[in-house]
Amino acid sequence: MWRDALLIAAKDLKIELRSKVTMNQILPFAFVVLIVFAFALDTSPGTLAKVAPGLFWLAVLFSSVFGVDRAVAIETNDSAGEGLLAYGVDPGGIFLGKVISVFVQLFLLEIFLLLGVVVLYGPKIGGLPLMAISAFFATLGLCAAGVTYSQLASASRAKQTLLPLLLVPVASPVLLAGTKAWQDAFSTAASLGDPWLRLLIVFAVVYLALGAIFFGSILEG
């Protein structure tokens, strides 16, 4: 399973390096979201700095929808996904490979996005270890839930609208917990025993397990 996962992840990342969809389309979209939030909310100077963590994770959540959609779309061209089945690749490996690939892309996107938040909203950043670790598990959970749902919705002709409808409510705990964890990190209360971090870990573990168990049935379905 892990061997297949690494194979798929390496292939997907290579495709991203060539096609640069995340780089050239999803990342700029995330910045657009940041800027539009600023238009909508900048009533008084302090507001944006205060809600920065929430806006950051909302932008990540939106970007993740596109990211997982792209990860599954790679396999629909020329029926490549069917090819993977025909080659006898382990479905759990396909799932984990996709999660790894989207995770790497999304995590890099978050680093750029954080720079954007710092420049545009000017929050006081602190508690870097808690920020990094909570971002790690939040992203992992988002990718696991996202890849599962993206594959579920992929059979639909209206998958662009069905995927967010399915994914956003499911992923809402990540939005809440990620935001709260970062708020804690920015405040003086930063510690790795943060309950929000625990919730993010639970979410990531549950959705990784569910995806690994069920991805085969969804693919073969």
Binding site: K11, I15, S79, A86, G88
Partner: protein, 236 residues
């Protein structure tokens, strides 16, 4: 010698439409079976079902000794399917695609070079992105992956379409060599000429089942080597 493929009364439903409607089919080692039939008869569906990619709704289906109605995943890596789609990634180069297939099927990746060279995919062509290739070149890439894999069962859907005559010759010669060593080929084709690839049997598919099954010369002899010799001797 048991049969490699054994389908009994197989029904396959896709999207509430019966694409196979009670199909009986057997194929043994060393056979080249030409699958004929008009559009929509179920030829491609037959290949997909044998490859373990179509869910068997009713009936029993055994391929290479594995019950594919229950465990299709157990046998897929031993079957080579060339469909209308090449299962290729547009953003990867020809050689990257071939190597990926070999790694995914747990075959020997070092065989990629030779297989690609045999089909003329050498030099700059091997490092060209598939997105920039013509239909014929894409087909060659998919074929190269298949040749390097050396599956026991070859399922070829219109393999000659959009190939030049030189490549057809290479393909036919390679397939004949494999068959003489006991491999089995199921060949879907609308064409009448198959070059030096001479079917030992012709089955006609219609309405999702087999409607005729004719042996080219004699019933298949037990020795696969003999089949190949007879086959090549029979070229008009």
């Amino acid at each position: 010698m048991g049969s490699l493929v054994s389908f009994k009364n197989v029904i396959v439903i896709s999207g509430n439409f019966p694409i196979l409607t009670g199909l009986d089919f057997e194929a043994g080692p060393g056979e080249i079976v030409l699958v004929k039939g008009r559009n929509g008869a179920g030829k491609t569906s037959l290949l997909r079902a044998v490859a373990g990619l179509a869910r068997i709704t009713r009936g029993s289906a055994n391929v290479l000794g594995v019950d594919i109605a229950a465990n299709p995943a157990d046998v897929r890596h031993r079957i080579g399917l060339l469909g209308h789609e090449g299962f290729l990634y547009e953003d990867l180069t020809a050689s990257e695609n071939v190597r990926f297939v070999l790694k995914a099927t747990r075959s020997d990746p070092s065989k990629a070079e030779a297989a690609m060279a045999s089909l003329g995919l050498t030099g700059r062509l091997g490092d060209l992105k598939v997105a920039k290739m013509s239909a014929g070149q894409r087909k060659k890439v998919a074929l190269a992956a298949l040749l390097a894999r050396e599956p026991e069962l070859w399922l070829l859907d219109e393999p000659h379409a959009s190939l030049d005559s030189w490549t057809r010759g290479v393909l036919d010669a390679t397939l004949n060599a494999k068959v003489s060593r006991g491999a089995t080929v199921l060949l879907v084709s609308h064409e009448s000429h198959h070059g030096s690839l001479v079917p030992t049997r012709t089955v006609e598919v219609g309405g999702g089942k087999i409607i005729s099954d004719t042996h080219a010369t004699k019933p298949v002899p037990l020795d696969p080597l003999a089949v190949a010799e007879q086959g090549s001797g029979n070229v008009a």
